[in-house]
């Protein structure tokens, strides 16, 4: 912070001001008590409060992750179901190849390819930046969101499609599915009501666990598409050695991940009446 040629007494003063001359446990205790009071410290570079900077950026990241989650589910369910129902057919191989490619492609590269095709070549969507609903209107908001959400959602879609296929295959082999077929139920009803309904539970579990991966992907996606979210803030924080910023981002993201997993746990009760929490 003071540069390589800093004088010893300046270094000492800075250490004292930042509290770095205290033992680690004192520093950590102060950090914890500040968090409890909603104080994540201030940015070393901009002197802005880290919490307010994060709260400003968090909606962008949440919008991005939730929209890519929606895209992932909308792509994955039909793909996984098609695969499971038409097992070992060309449809199965086709959708699972797509899913595997989705899982294997690095998200930042997919983003760049999308920008190249859909922004530079076809001029369908803007290749960077964020538009808020209040400031730019709903249409601009959606147009700016489509490429990053698809780029981030594609990998998750591939992952979920594979899980959907395997859990649905498990469920479709169950006795109650045979019973449903035996009583003459239409195949579509068997798959939807008896198959998918029971395959959803493990799927939702995976969704919760994978939410962390999606938040991680958001860090890279925000950088590719120049979105002002917490991920890009973290990258900036590390580049400029702004540790309160990095600390704040890591903490906030972890809180979001834990909160989502709690919601998933609560969601079980709605999805499966057999699950009860005491």
């Amino acid at each position: 912070m003071l540069g390589a040629g800093a004088r010893a007494e300046d270094l000492q003063a800075l250490r004292h001001n930042l509290g770095l001359d205290q033992p680690i446990y004192v520093q950590y205790g102060r950090f914890l008590s500040n968090i409890l009071r909603g104080d994540l410290g201030e940015s070393i570079v901009s002197k802005q409060s880290v919490l307010s900077a994060l709260l400003q950026r968090l909606p962008v990241t949440l919008v991005l992750t939730v929209s890519s989650l929606i895209i992932a589910v909308l792509l994955a369910l039909p793909l996984g179901m098609l695969s499971a129902i038409h097992r070992t057919s060309i449809l199965d191989y086709g959708s699972m190849s797509f899913a595997l490619l989705g899982v294997s492609a690095p998200v930042f590269w997919v983003g760049i390819v999308f920008i190249f095709i859909f922004s530079f070549k076809l001029s369908w969507f803007p290749g960077s930046g964020y538009a808020s609903i209040s400031g730019n209107g709903f249409a601009a908001f959606i147009r700016h969101l489509i490429l990053p959400s698809f780029a981030l959602g594609l990998g998750m879609a591939g992952f979920l499609a594979r899980i959907t296929r395997s859990t649905l295959l498990d469920v479709l082999g169950e006795d109650y599915v045979r019973t449903a077929r035996a009583k003459g139920l239409r195949e579509s009803l068997v798959v939807m009501r008896h198959g998918l309904r029971n395959a959803l539970l493990p799927l939702v579990t995976v969704l919760g666990l994978q939410f962390a991966a999606l938040m991680g992907g958001a860090v890279v996606t925000e950088t590719v598409f120049a979105l002002p979210g917490v991920g890009r803030f973290a990258v900036y924080g590390i580049e400029s050695h702004d540790f309160p910023v990095v600390q704040g981002v890591v903490l906030v993201v972890a809180v979001v991940v834990v909160a989502v997993n709690v919601l998933v746990d609560i969601g079980y009760v709605a999805l499966d009446p057999r699950v009860k929490y005491d």
Binding site: A105, P106, F116, A213, M215, G237, V250
Partner: protein, 282 residues
């Protein structure tokens, strides 16, 4: 005897799985490319030639040249060494630490178990890329730090799987027998518990190589991993971004190779998992 037949059985199943075979072919090609890089690369990956900048793919430069006129094919070939090294060593480090933590937690139980596994749960709450990024921020740039940063997010997974299998092994009759004749805990863990709980960890390791490669290339893409001019695929994509309109091949080609390699490890890992999972049958 039994272990040998299990090994043969696994190999037989792997050979019949077309996906796994394709994956293994990709991995073998990658290893050969990395080892033979100095022989097969058409030119020095760092040789700058400003007279031939941003050339599109041609017979002289199969994948074209970059903004400094460097041959992209040669950079891709040398870049395979880094992907491979980082992928394997990150998983090796993560696996060793995870198995160590998981077996201590599982075998001893009690307060050690609680402390270690709650720490692992905490690590789970951080997205791998973000955690790796923060670690790079603290440790600084460089290959060794990149390996560590890609390894640490994988530790909780290995620890959990090891712990759950160790918990089962701990209660088996032969472990009880070993305890009865007075074998030390360390001997029991090394000789009886770990060899019998390692299979699921190996499968997980095979599947984690692709994740490690993706995390490491993401870090390099963001500018925190391997530093230029070392040819690294993620960093090449990043450097090519500025020329996406004039020369899209700068970014597109390295990305295709990351995808191919990750695909290879995913296919092989899936195949290994299916072959070792007795529930799936032959």
């Amino acid at each position: 005897m039994r272990r040998q037949s299990l090994y043969a059985e696994t190999l037989r199943k792997l050979r019949r799985n077309k996906g796994a075979l394709a994956g293994m072919v990709i991995i073998v090609m990658l290893i050969l490319t990395a080892m033979l890089a100095p022989i097969i690369a058409p030119s020095d990956p760092n040789a700058i030639n400003l007279g031939s900048r941003l050339l599109t793919p041609s017979r002289a430069h199969l994948f074209g040249t970059d903004q400094f006129g460097r041959d992209i094919l040669s950079r891709i070939i040398y870049g395979s060494q880094i992907s491979l090294a980082v992928g394997f060593s990150a998983v090796a480090v993560g696996l060793l630490l995870g198995v160590l933590i998981g077996s201590i937690a599982g075998y001893y139980g009690g307060i050690a178990d609680h402390f270690l596994m709650r720490t692992m749960d905490t690590l789970y709450a951080f997205p791998a890329v973000l955690l790796a990024l923060a670690i790079m921020g603290i440790l600084g740039k460089g290959l060794m730090n990149l390996v560590l940063a890609a390894a640490i997010p994988s530790i909780p997974g290995f620890a959990r799987v090891t712990r759950s299998t160790v918990l089962v092994q701990r209660e088996t009759v032969y472990v009880e027998a070993a305890r009865a004749y007075g074998a030390s805990s360390r001997r029991i863990i090394w000789k009886y518990v770990l060899p019998n709980s390692i299979a699921p960890v190996i499968v997980m390791g095979a599947l984690r190589i692709s994740t490690a490669i993706l995390v490491a290339s993401s870090l390099s893409f963001l500018g925190f991993g391997i530093q230029p001019p070392t040819p690294e695929w993620g960093a090449m994509i990043s450097a090519g971004r500025g020329f996406i309109v004039r020369a899209p091949h700068l970014s597109i080609i390295p990305g295709l190779f990351i995808m191919l390699v990750v695909l290879g490890f995913n296919l092989a890992g899936d195949g290994l998992r299916d072959a070792l999972d007795p529930k799936l049958g032959a």
